[in-house]
């Protein structure tokens, strides 16, 4: 089962390593991990994606919740939430084919030097996979970097 876990973490030396270490020590490969500051400078948000059985992941979340640096931890998997991942890719090929691909996915061209283009796309992990496939069909993808998933709960709608 795929689990998306969101953590608010106090910015302290070693805090990130302690969280990641808890997952690693259970033998769980962290599929993706994004970390960035929140509107509060002292707090970072982590989004972790791991695959594992529900009971063990629940126990890891409980153990993580005990870490002194952790302010809040919760699993988003069963909640209404939005997931996004950023892709930047360097692709070489026919301009028109690449531009058509970018148009189709609403992706952006960031730079173009001769036959090489640097492009950007954000979307769910599946959408990023689909965009990469399309990009490979349009040109030669020389390199790419994916950010891992950032996720947040959907806005609460009050009746």
């Amino acid at each position: 089962m795929r689990h998306t876990i969101s953590i608010l973490l106090q910015n302290e030396a070693g805090a990130l390593a302690r969280v990641a270490g808890l997952f690693a020590s259970r033998g769980y490969n962290i599929e993706s991990l994004t970390v960035a500051a929140t509107p509060d400078d002292d707090v970072s948000r982590l989004t972790l994606v791991v695959f594992g059985d529900d009971a063990t992941v629940e126990q890891i979340i409980k153990q993580s919740a005990k870490l002194v640096d952790v302010i809040e931890i919760g699993e988003l998997t069963r909640k209404e939430h939005v997931e996004r991942e950023l892709l930047v890719a360097r692709v070489e090929g026919d301009e028109a084919a690449i531009d058509a691909c970018l148009d189709r996915f609403s992706a952006r061209l960031l730079q173009r030097e001769g036959p090489q283009s640097v492009v950007e796309y954000t979307g769910s992990a599946d959408a990023v996979d689909r965009f990469l496939d399309a990009l490979r069909a349009a040109g030669d993808v020389a390199d790419h970097a994916r950010s891992g998933i950032a996720a947040i709960e959907r806005p609460l709608v009050t009746a």
Partner: protein, 597 residues
């Protein structure tokens, strides 16, 4: 003040009366500040207010601080230098984490600018300790030092207690700072969770649900763990058990949390628990777990633990322990003492009564038919007889520390523990070498009590350098070594599960003369006991000696620890040995080890 002065001032403000530690370059400013503080603030009796006890190594220092904490309930403190000093502290820090012991370890670190350069005596303490401690602070901003220190003590003692490590670079120790006198770090997530747990109270509805379950039970059993000791809840536990007549089994860490001489006491359960305790767990229909975490040494096979229990209730201060191993039908996350007081008051208010006489008679029968026992007319000294003699002569009124292995289990089984904090043992980590330094720390915490380290020949070798610490400080610690020429518990497992191939566990050809070793370290009373007829007289003489004393007892090398629930076995498959009647067919020892190590 310098950063180092602030460290020492906060240690004094925390009410410490002894520190343990080993010096080195990166902690020298703090050591100098301790010296100056002691010189400037002599106590009325002329003694130092913060004596610094120097062990043989940093592992010893931290186990002394942990022994101090276990015996007193207060936070123990060790001061160590960077690099090897700090890494020597890893084992006791992990040991304290596993047993929930409040400890603060102050580590010197290389100067801020040198961190990460492979500087002399540098080690990545925050990473290493991060995986072992309740929390680690690396103080890179000197202005946060004071708040960090105070927060470290708060974290160590609050909630589920544990060890906190503070890594302080040398330049931070030397920084000129202003002492504010009150600041703490926000640690807002921790504080809000702590507040929620500590202020949690049982509603009337929750109490009603608990008593409905208890009322439906005919054979209730309390399963009490180390949380009872940590929470200072032994009084509320006694009152609760007595009010409703519920028998009590304890874990290894829960020993002393319920008076073992109480008629309701069924003593320790688990892998080497009393047969009657394990049978009672097999027979009960309701388990009330208090500050106990269903450890594998207790539960064995989770699906078959307490097989007749129709309900399990659990109280713990740690939400992660609820339902971790066994699903529970009723639970409360909060302070044990408050929860038990509340349940007791509610039960009294509704006039709760339950006739448990049939269960009491059953339990009494189990205690009678499956009583602890061993070979009492052997030609060689039986270790259980030694523990019984110590118990008889001290009337069970001593602090007992142990190493890890057979001697630890015999001490747990054959000594009476009337009060909490008289039983100091490395429960979860199972750290050999724990006993002697822990006894030293305990003797500083409780100079009014006799402190006895019951050790094994292999365990004491691990930290035998601390014998000299005992005599250096003139501590009246009594050290008993049960010598069976080997790693007895390992041999017992090899005998049962490895067809008697004693790989690396036989020490019979070793040349150490323990008596000469003790004498060389300054023990004036150091004797060997090998005559079963002299047990009582020798032990009485040993315990009566006014000062440090060392007794080596040459025990039957074939003595085993029984009962034993083999790894991966159920209580019904328990091996009770030749001297304790079993009610079931014991499991045949297999030729292969099981998955449960």
């Amino acid at each position: 003040m310098t950063g180092a002065d602030i460290v020492v001032q906060i240690l004094a403000d925390e009410g410490l009366d002894v520190l343990f530690g080993y010096s080195g370059g990166a902690i020298l400013p703090v050591y100098d500040a301790v010296f100056r503080f002691n010189a400037e603030h002599p106590r009325d009796d002329g003694n130092e207010p913060l004596p610094l006890i120097v062990p043989a190594n940093e592992q010893g220092a931290c186990f002394m601080a942990a022994g101090y904490a276990r015996a007193s309930g207060r936070v123990g403190v060790a001061l160590v230098t960077s690099g090897p000093g700090a890494t020597n502290a890893v084992t006791p820090v992990r040991d304290s984490m596993a047993d929930s012991i409040p400890l603060v370890v102050v580590c010197g670190q290389v100067p801020t600018g040198a961190i990460g350069t492979d500087a002399f005596q540098e080690a990545p303490v925050s990473q290493i300790m991060g995986a072992c401690a309740k929390h680690v602070f690396l103080v890179t901003d000197a202005s946060t030092l004071e708040a960090t220190l105070r927060t470290a003590f708060h974290i160590a003692r609050s909630g589920r207690p544990g060890p906190v490590v503070i890594d302080i670079p040398k330049d931070v120790q030397n920084a000129p700072l202003i002492f504010e006198g009150s600041r703490e770090l926000p640690v807002r997530g921790y504080r809000s969770r702590l507040h929620a747990v500590e202020s949690a109270t049982l509603t009337d509805a929750a109490c009603a649900a608990f008593f409905a379950t208890l009322g439906a039970s005919e054979r209730p059993l309390i399963y009490a763990g180390g949380g009872i000791v940590s929470a200072g809840a032994s009084g509320p536990l006694r009152d609760f058990a007595h009010a409703f007549g519920i028998p009590v089994v304890t874990t290894l860490m829960g020993i002393g949390g319920f008076d073992t001489t109480d008629p309701l006491a069924l003593h320790m359960l688990g892998m080497h628990g009393a047969a009657y305790a394990n049978y009672a767990m097999d027979d009960c229909d309701f388990v009330f777990a208090l500050g106990a975490r269903f450890d594998d040494r207790v539960v064995g096979v989770p699906d078959q633990f307490a097989p007749r229990a129709r309900a399990i209730a659990q109280v713990d201060i740690d939400p992660a322990e609820i339902g971790k191993v066994k699903a529970v039908d009723w639970h409360h996350v909060g302070s044990l003492d408050q929860a038990l007081d509340r349940l007791l008051a509610y039960g009294a208010r509704i006039g709760f009564r339950r006739d448990l006489s049939a269960w009491h008679a059953h339990v009494a029968g189990l205690k009678r038919h499956h009583a602890m026992n061993f070979s009492r007319d052997s030609d060689s000294i039986q270790p259980c007889a030694v523990i019984e003699a110590i118990n008889r002569i001290t009337n069970g009124r001593a602090i007992i520390s142990t190493g890890v292995g057979q001697h630890q289990m015999w001490a747990a089984q054959y000594f009476d523990f009337r009060e909490p904090r008289h039983w100091l043992t490395s429960g979860s980590m199972g750290t050999m070498g724990f006993g002697l330094p822990a006894a030293i720390g305990a003797q500083f915490a409780r100079p009014d009590l006799t402190v006895i380290d019951i050790d094994g020949d292999a365990s004491i070798r691990m930290n035998i350098g601390e014998l000299e610490t005992v005599t250096t400080y003139g501590l009246p610690v009594k050290v008993v070594v049960l010598n069976n020429s080997g790693d007895g518990m390992v041999r017992q497992w090899q005998k049962l599960f490895f067809k008697g191939r004693f790989s690396a566990s036989d020490k019979s050809l070793h040349k150490k003369d323990f008596i000469k070793a003790a004498q060389a370290d300054g023990f004036e009373w150091a004797q060997r006991l090998d005559d079963p007829r002299a047990i009582d007289a020798t032990i009485a003489d040993f315990l009566a000696f006014d000062g440090p004393a060392f007794l080596e007892v040459v025990i039957d090398p074939d003595a085993g620890v029984y009962p034993m629930v083999g790894p991966g076995a159920t209580y019904a498959q328990m091996i009770t040995g030749d001297w304790i009647p079993s009610r079931d067919t014991p499991v045949e020892a297999t030729g292969q080890p099981t998955g449960m190590f």
